[in-house]
Symmetry: C2
Subunit: 104 residues, 2 copies
DNA sequence: AGTAATAGTTATCTACAGTAACTAATTATG
DNA sequence: CATAATTAGTTACTGTAGATAACTATTACT
């Protein structure tokens, strides 16, 4: 939902790349979110692909959940300065990059 | 195995606290490791508890695996200085502490 | 002695993800 | 242009990791 909220819409393959999971995982997750009424398909030329976007309800729910997540993050980052947070993110990104290198 | 290697022996409850998981999870894991011949029970007074320790094979296997893990860690920490690593650990510990606070 | 609490087990359930094999649609090739 | 190769998504099956609830056996408390 985060990805679709920022990016407007996306195909299952785009999502699987973004999330770093396999296609069947995305299929299942999308199916659930569609059932719940948070996602809807966008018609495209290519009849193979299934491009999805947030519904109005989906966008509303996302915003609500976003607040909860932000509060949670504030909570667990209590006592950690902005610079420290950025440094932490930098280190994690480096480790992720090193991990990527390894798993070709 | 890390815990038992450093601590000599431990009961299932000790392990579940150390690992932060429930007792059934430990029961199953221990059972598997015992089957594989890496763990053995240590007799105790209290007939309820099941105190476990590494077997000779277990210790040997642990050392071998340890090498692999260390190599892996070196690999994913490439380009990150000792001080940066310590800072990262400090930040993660802080976050963990904040998480603990919340989930009472 | 009789009740509480503790250690471990069993059975059942859920979340989350992967692989293999497939269909349908589109691109590329000869 | 027809066929081969690729791409997007789905289905079926499997595995891992963990949780909760209900239970037994043992020990501690009053």
């Amino acid at each position: 939902m985060y990805y679709l909220n920022n990016d407007g819409s996306g195909t299952l393959v785009e999502l699987s790349h973004y999330l770093g999971v396999e296609k069947p995982t995305v299929t299942r997750t999308i199916a659930k979110l569609e059932e719940m009424g948070y996602l809807e398909p966008v018609p495209t030329k290519d009849k193979r692909e299934k491009r999805m976007q947030l519904t109005d309800t989906g966008r509303k729910v996302y915003q609500e959940v976003r607040v909860t997540i932000d509060e949670f993050e504030q909570d667990i980052l209590k006592g950690i300065s902005e610079e420290e947070q950025l440094e932490g993110i930098r280190l994690m990104s480096l480790i992720r990059k090193n991990l990527m290198q390894g798993e070709l």
